[in-house]
């Protein structure tokens, strides 16, 4: 590729004092392929900026390669309008990490220039992929979350389509008598005002509502989802989707040990809402008044045999329901049997208020629920505080049941995606197939440690699912109360709008927001091995009937996992490809054996390990100068060809620094680090073929704050390589 590269070396921050700049300049303008090379004592100053700008204005330079601080520093100061900027880390990872004025440090600095020249031969400026797009929003579910999402999106000027399977809007709140207090003094129950929200939705001319309808199929990608609505029989084109299908109460049929289905006067908290709504707060068995009511908390929750999580709302629901009972009969006795009474936040105040009513709270284990002699039920509990069994005769036992996300019980989206029809949950993993067996499909491992709620980064980036442009809100995303659900929908609606706004300019969404590059597939060389379509963490690739990938750039997050997966090396981005990295590897000068200088390639995740290397430099921690760092968008882009080529060229070792993998993964692309490690499992064949020791290739997980460990990791790797001796493929 023809570029006019201008290399600008900043001599500030100790760089100029530590290196032989004249020698570097020679390399820059030869192997570095630079048209010119200049130095400045402080490139990030106005004067430094002007020096570069003058060369750009004169037409001498169209790529500015800045050899200065890390690419994580001074981005605003070291930018020149739209001009392409490459960064070479001469500060944190060079002069701050290595001995000054040392021949090995100098060699490293010169190699980075060679790598620049080699890289630039294989990269071009990304041209954004731009498609005609719809900015309409589909909302699946017409409960409080869905209606809230729709109203927010409509306020922002977007057209919205709601698909609701029931014959009316309102969702679960249609079944609810009253709501617990949401404002100070958290004393009185709130009227259920869901009808007001329903009326707003119906009156809003930007919102189309399809009732008694479900999704028949969704094809396409963000910006051009084609939605078949069953029931209403409609076809809708939308740009993005909010999934707000809510929850279903845990199936009380599985709670026979708590008397449900066996004792008539045992009901669920949901059934009690309906009884209260209908004004029938009496014993179901005989219509008698309720004198004593027992609420059993965690009915099927926090229980490994049922739901192994806490739904966070059931305690407050029961507190609210004790009020229903007292309103019907102010002399009624109410008991709440609990493991831990959980009323976080301001609900605690409501708890304190309810406690004053006279409800008896018993920390206890329910041992059995049996029918009473004259109707009602007898609850036998082990009272934890008293340490003994207690029997409570109750007219009614209310089981506080938890929330199961609607996506656990039914298909909500029916996406026409090669990787499956629904949003994967956080613990869903795609296993890489080991052999070349064509028939072996992807295996979804689903251990449901989080109850099947769809998400991908539930702490830092809670809206990010693994399907671009599709965002979950409310209790389908996590157990939640109705107020929080409505709030949650605001965020999801925003994400839905933003996704289309960015994509319509050809820009990626999280976490590489604004990236204009996208993977290009040289399909004429595709062997239909399906690795890319299986391994994409975001389900971006579909397949034709032969198994050839069908890319969907607007589903893509630009991690490069497909590029790493492809054995034919046909996938690449304009500015990041198998060839560009291969070329960098080939550009590195590997010393001959007699020079006794090892060569090590270090592929580094730019999200965590690269900043960690920077911070090690900031702390002036030293490591071996024989390590050449190549940053990667994600180690999931690791292509084994690089390792084979590096070894054939005489590199003594390859070190990979990636994110933590596994259930508590830290990879921003879900599984990139895990995929890289799995691929490395196969590198053995390559090394065996070359008769090389497997220890020459090592993978380390580096957490971003563990930068203090990096010099140790590198040094011990170097020690092992020294024991193994030089790579016999050296010249």
């Amino acid at each position: 590729m023809e570029h006019k590269i201008g290399v600008y070396i900043c001599t500030g921050c100790g760089i100029g004092d530590a290196l032989d700049l004249a020698a570097i300049e020679k390399v820059a303008t030869s192997d570095g392929k630079a048209a010119l090379c200049k130095t400045h004592e402080c490139l990030c100053s106005q004067e430094g900026h002007a020096l570069v700008q003058a060369d750009i204005d004169a037409g001498d330079v169209d790529v500015v390669a800045v050899a200065a601080c890390s690419m994580r520093e001074k981005q605003a100061e070291l930018s020149w309008g739209e001009t392409w900027v490459e960064r070479i880390n001469y500060r944190e990872q060079l002069v701050w990490s290595h001995e000054p004025n040392d021949e090995d440090t100098q060699w490293l600095a010169e190699d980075y220039m060679r790598m620049l020249g080699a890289r630039m031969e294989h990269v071009t400026r990304p041209e954004p992929h731009i498609e005609e797009m719809s900015d309409r929003v589909l909302v699946v579910g017409g409960g409080i979350s869905g209606m809230s999402a729709a109203l927010f999106a409509a306020r922002a000027g977007k057209e919205v389509v709601i698909v609701e399977k029931e014959d009316g809007l309102g969702g679960f709140l249609r079944r609810v008598h009253r709501r617990f207090p949401v404002a100070p003094p958290y004393q009185e129950l709130e009227e259920n005002d869901i009808q007001a929200t329903i009326d707003q939705v119906i009156a809003n001319d930007k919102i189309t509502v399809h009732l008694s309808s479900t999704i028949g199929k969704i094809d396409g990608a963000p910006g051009r989802f084609e939605v078949t609505v069953e029931g209403a029989g409609a076809k809708e084109t939308v740009g993005s989707i909010v999934v707000a299908a809510g929850f279903v109460p845990y199936d009380a049929g599985k709670l026979t040990h708590l008397g449900y289905g066996e004792v008539k006067d045992v009901v669920t908290s949901v059934e009690l809402e309906e009884m209260a709504r209908e004004g029938k707060l009496v014993r179901p068995s005989d219509g008698a008044d309720l004198e004593t009511v027992v609420f059993v908390q965690c009915a099927g929750s926090r229980d490994p045999d049922h739901l192994d999580y806490c739904s966070t709302t059931c305690c407050s629901v029961s507190l609210k329901q004790t009020r229903y009972i007292r309103e019907a009969n102010e002399d009624a006795k109410t008991y709440v049997l609990y493991k831990d009474l959980r009323t976080p936040g301001q609900w605690e105040i409501f708890y304190q208020n309810v406690a004053k009513d006279g409800t008896i709270f018993v920390k206890s284990e329910v041992k059995s629920v049996a029918a009473g002699e004259d109707g009602g039920a007898v609850v036998t509990v082990q009272d934890v505080l008293l340490g003994e069994d207690v029997e409570i005769e109750a007219d009614l036992v209310v089981l506080a049941v938890g929330q199961v996300p609607a996506c656990q019980n039914e298909q909500l989206l029916k996406l026409g995606y090669r990787q499956g029809p629904e949003l994967p949950s956080i613990d869903a993993r795609i296993e890489i197939k080991e052999g070349d067996d064509e028939d072996e499909g992807p295996v979804e491992r689903k251990d449901e440690v989080t109850g099947g709620f769809p998400n991908s980064h539930f702490v830092c980036f809670p809206y990010e699912t693994r399907r671009t442009g599709i965002y979950a809100a409310g209790s389908v995303r996590q157990p939640t109360d109705s107020v929080t659900a409505a709030d949650d929908a605001a965020g999801a609606a925003f994400k839905a709008i933003k996704c289309v706004a960015l994509q319509s300019e050809g820009k990626a969404v999280h976490p590489r927001v604004g990236d204009m590059s996208w993977p290009d597939f040289a399909l004429q060389r595709c062997t239909q091995c399906k690795r890319c379509t299986e391994e994409c963490p975001f389900g971006a690739l579909d397949e034709d009937e032969k198994g050839t990938p069908k890319p969907n750039p607007t589903r893509c997050r630009r991690c490069g996992v497909c590029m790493g997966a492809c054995p034919e090396r046909i996938v690449g981005f304009a500015d990041y490809s198998v060839q560009s990295i291969n070329s960098m590897i080939k550009g590195i000068y590997v010393a001959e054996e007699w020079e006794e200088k090892p060569a090590v390639l270090c592929l580094v995740c730019e999200n965590d390990a690269y900043p960690a290397l920077d911070m090690a430099g900031l702390a002036r921690m030293k490591h071996s100068p024989f390590v050449r760092v190549v940053p990667m968008r994600c180690l999931g882009g690791l292509n084994l060809q690089w390792i084979a080529d590096a070894m054939a060229k005489g590199f003594d070792g390859v070190l990979l620094l990636g994110c933590k993998a596994g259930d508590d993964y830290q990879c921003h692309f879900i599984q990139g680090s895990e995929l890289a490690q799995t691929r490395l499992g196969k590198v053995q064949e390559t090394l065996d073929r070359l008769m090389l020791e497997s220890e020459r290739v090592a993978f380390h997980e580096v957490e971003i704050d563990s930068f203090g460990a990096i010099p140790g990791i590198i040094d011990s790797f170097m020690e092992r390589l020294e024991e193994l001796g030089p790579n016999p493929f050296k010249d």
Binding site: C42, Y463, P479, D487, A490, G491, L618, D664, E703, S706
Partner: protein, 409 residues
């Protein structure tokens, strides 16, 4: 959507950063105001998140990366909003910016700090250490520009600092500034402060150096913190062999914070894992009224199953110095007995107090100072200034705040 006026986001912690970035990436201009010299708020000082036990700096780095690219965010650190007039769509605000004494020529090379001998109390490290008078708060500090605490620096050092900087970045004459801005929407994200547990007299906080709070525990356990992650008790630097976690230190108590902050139980469970990792033989106690672990039941169960951990439903009635140790008097609710436990260090699980003092606008707050969402009045509260919340909820809420701001534009 009229895009002419920027949104003002007040507070540069996780909430404010998230709202600012979401709006900015949609192409909307933002003015982000943070009172301290660096962004990140409380999250930047956390060692790990529950339940994944992953470093918060991992997600912060992504956010800082986004910020570096966000040309339409104007950031003011060491700044406060002192006046708000007008209403949604058309506010006029005054922002007062303190001098940093270090200008944008700073390259963060560190030569100034090397030349400086004067020290100041390290607020980022919760006063567990000192920093130089010219400093970055942490290895991840953003913006990457030193700040000078001029009052903590003696005259001689001021001259040395100025001389050490080759780039003319140290500006001892810098004066603060007062800016007037016109903005379309205001998002208030000023976060929380930990409850001052010294007000709960019987817990010994403030008198007994080995009674620390949960934020201090985060710094003690942090590999990049003042002890390099070693759990050294403050009084004498001894590595701890026993720790007690005291839940509801002022929370769920009508005399202090009547509400529950919702996250302290999970924070303590997380911190128990710090102790067990750093000192595998250490004995850990947790005294609580209820363990409120929210939806992270498996995380709770994992800690509960640890033989070195004793989780007791009980109220701590007093903490005293007893020779070399702290003695906790506890009413064990399950056994009904008064028990005594001796430990090296006690961690008070303090709740969240919203930072809503000296608001420059008339606000609707609840009885505890949390801002109420009242969109007709305009100002949009988000994060822990609105209600106690964990990080995930804060990010969720901040994204919702971006939506509300968008609707006001």
């Amino acid at each position: 959507m009229s895009q002419s006026k920027p949104t003002l986001v007040v507070g540069g912690g996780m909430s404010g950063i998230s709202t600012a970035l979401e709006l900015s990436e949609l192409g909307l201009p933002v003015i982000l105001v943070e009172r301290s010299p660096f962004l990140g708020g409380k999250v930047a000082a956390f060692n790990k998140y529950f339940p994944k036990l992953c470093p918060p700096t991992c997600g912060l780095e992504i956010n800082y990366k986004r910020l570096r690219k966000a040309a339409n965010i104007t950031l003011h650190t060491q700044a406060r909003v002192t006046r708000v007039e007008g209403g949604p769509g058309d506010y006029s605000v005054t922002i007062e910016v303190e001098p940093r004494f270090v200008n944008d020529r700073c390259t963060a090379c560190g030569a100034c700090a090397e030349a400086c001998a004067s020290e100041r109390e390290d607020d980022f490290n919760q006063s567990l250490a000192k920093t130089k008078a010219i400093y970055l708060s942490s290895p991840m500090a953003y913006p990457r520009r030193y700040v000078l605490d001029k009052e903590a620096c003696d005259e001689g050092d001021l001259a040395k600092i100025q001389e050490a900087c080759k780039y003319g970045a140290v500006d001892l004459e810098e004066e603060g500034s007062v800016l007037t801005e016109s903005v379309g929407a205001i998002v208030w994200a000023t976060g929380f402060s930990p409850y001052d547990a010294s007000r709960v007299e019987y817990l010994g906080r403030g008198e007994l150096p080995d009674v620390i709070n949960n934020l201090q525990m985060e710094r003690l356990a942090d590999k990049t913190g003042p002890t390099g992650g070693k759990l050294l008790r403050p009084s004498d630097g001894k590595e701890v062999t026993s720790v007690a976690f005291v839940q509801c230190a002022g929370s769920r108590d009508l005399k202090h914070l009547a509400y529950c902050s919702g996250i302290c139980c999970l924070a303590s469970l997380k911190q128990i894992s710090y102790v067990r990792e750093a000192a595998p033989d250490a004995k850990v106690y947790m005294f609580h009224i209820d363990v409120r672990a929210g939806k992270y039941e498996q995380f709770y169960a994992r800690i509960q199953a640890d033989e070195g951990v004793e989780i007791v439903k009980g109220k701590v009635a007093g903490i005293f110095q007893e020779g070399d140790s702290l003695r906790l008097q506890v009413e064990d609710i399950e056994s009904g007995e008064a028990i005594k436990v001796d430990v090296d260090m006690a961690v008070l699980a303090t709740g969240m107090v919203p930072n809503t003092q000296d608001l420059p606008f008339e606000a609707s707050t609840d009885d505890y100072g949390f801002l109420m969402m009242d969109e007709s009045k305009g100002i949009i509260p988000t994060g822990c200034v609105r209600r106690p919340a964990d990080v995930a909820t804060v990010v969720q809420d901040a994204t919702g705040a971006a939506m509300r701001a968008l609707c006001q534009e």
